[in-house]
Amino acid sequence: MDQATTPQPDLRWHPGLLPDPIDLDTAPFWAAAAQRRLTYQTCDACGAVVFFPRRHCPECLGRALTWHDSAGLGSVYTFSVVRASRDPRFADRVPYCVALIDLDEGFRMMSSVVDTDVNTIAIGQRVQLGWARSGDALLPVFRPEPA
């Protein structure tokens, strides 16, 4: 599935902490994100789904991995709503959600559920990928899947 076929307006996030785009393990992920592609890896040797991105497989230490585009569909594994932050980059953004999302391809990532009342977010809730602009970066965030 191509996530880019239905363009959506960028979601609101904040000019907070940005990923380091030249981190040697995760740079390819952020380069793909800049093109609105959510990516993950699988191990050529053992087939394990690998996330966060690495140059080796944490199951078998194999070093041949293949990148894939995720369809961006998943469910909320767990979450919290930050209601107090003294981090100046986030303090005026409360309340906001932080969540661990289980993508249908079998990887779990930290992100946020946005574009919804934070008091309605629930574990198990189906969510879909969206993109939020944060400074120069595009961040993969999630919004509730339409009913």
Binding site: W13, H14, G16, L17, L18, P19, D20, D23, L24, D25, T26, F29, V49, F51, F52, P53, R54, Y77, T78, F79, S80, V81, V82, R83, A84, S85, R86, D87, R89, F90, R93, Y96, V98, A99, L100, D102, G106, F107, R108, M109, M110, S111, S112, I123, G124, S134, A137, L139
Partner: protein
Amino acid sequence: MKRDEEVAIVGAYEHPARLIPDSSPLQLQAIAAAEALADAGLTGRDVDAIYSALDGGLTSRLALAEYLGVTPATVDTTMVGGASFEFHVAHARSAIRAGKCRVALITYGATNRSAAVRLGTGAAPQYGNDNPAENMEAPWGTTLVANYALVAMRHMHEFGTTPEQLAEISVATRAHALRNPAAVAAMEALRFKERGEITVADVVSSPVIADPLHKLECCMVSDGAGAVVLTSAAVARSTRYRPVWVLGTGEAVGYSTNGGDICATAASRSGPIAFGEAGIRPEEVDIAMIYDSFTITVLTALEGLGFCGRGEGGAYAEGGRLRWDRPGGPALNTDGGGLFSNHPGMRGVFLLVEAVRQLRGQSTAQVPDAKIAVAHGNGGMLGSRHGAGTVLLGVA
């Protein structure tokens, strides 16, 4: 019962103050070292091994030996957050057993409160900026509280754990704090608005900091200092107080995995190792000094250490079971814990200090004839990556 009487804690010290401005972490470690050694009846000249998690890179870690004037045969700067000191005990015990050293000094000092470090609700702490996993987490603004809250939320979903059950941990710990003059003074110094007894209703009606954790479920941020001294059986015979024997230790690291169980924390691995080594069952434990950064840290550790089954921590905490004066369970954090007595950022050393007090009969919430204590440290971030160190202590 099997008794391993090879290595003992013979000196322990907790700085009485929680606001110690105009002091550096190094200065505080020197004070704590001197006092813990005096408590043991030893001097700096006896020390041949030093253990410190002092933050600040190579220079500050090497600096401790020079600063204290110690020429160590063994140096260990293992830094796994608040659990560092339980790891240090494990490593010191091994070194003493192996004959590499005789007197090991474990010190801690921090001034996070005076330095106004926003530990809980500030930027998520970075445990090494070269960790690519953190590069995937930094953008989301996950505070330390929220990171632990991820575990609490999942625990509630999976096992039906309630906010009221989690609150029981705060209520029992406050009752213990009110018996400890140092904790009472701490809450005053840190300007706690309410400093008396608290109820479950008080906890769940306090402000939510990060769903589902309330303010009264979050530890304080203080200054502080402490130290413990370990030595061999031969040296322990001539120290001031009766030796508190190290009966078993366990170390583990936990981290988030694809499809993994966030509620099965590293305690579920470090605990069984330590209990197995000691030949002790959880129901034999009188005192449970468990790192209480947040209530969920304690709840998951109670399960991991085997005091109750997986998912049963909520029911286990009910009915005041963890109070010092109730049968049916261990007395939890009898000094008032990190919640209400002392949490300068890495509380692990104070877990050991209060366990020693209990086993010497010196606690302000003394459990009569306490014989076995567990000190369980947790460091890092429970929802993403953390270290757990379990130490079983006993007196003959």
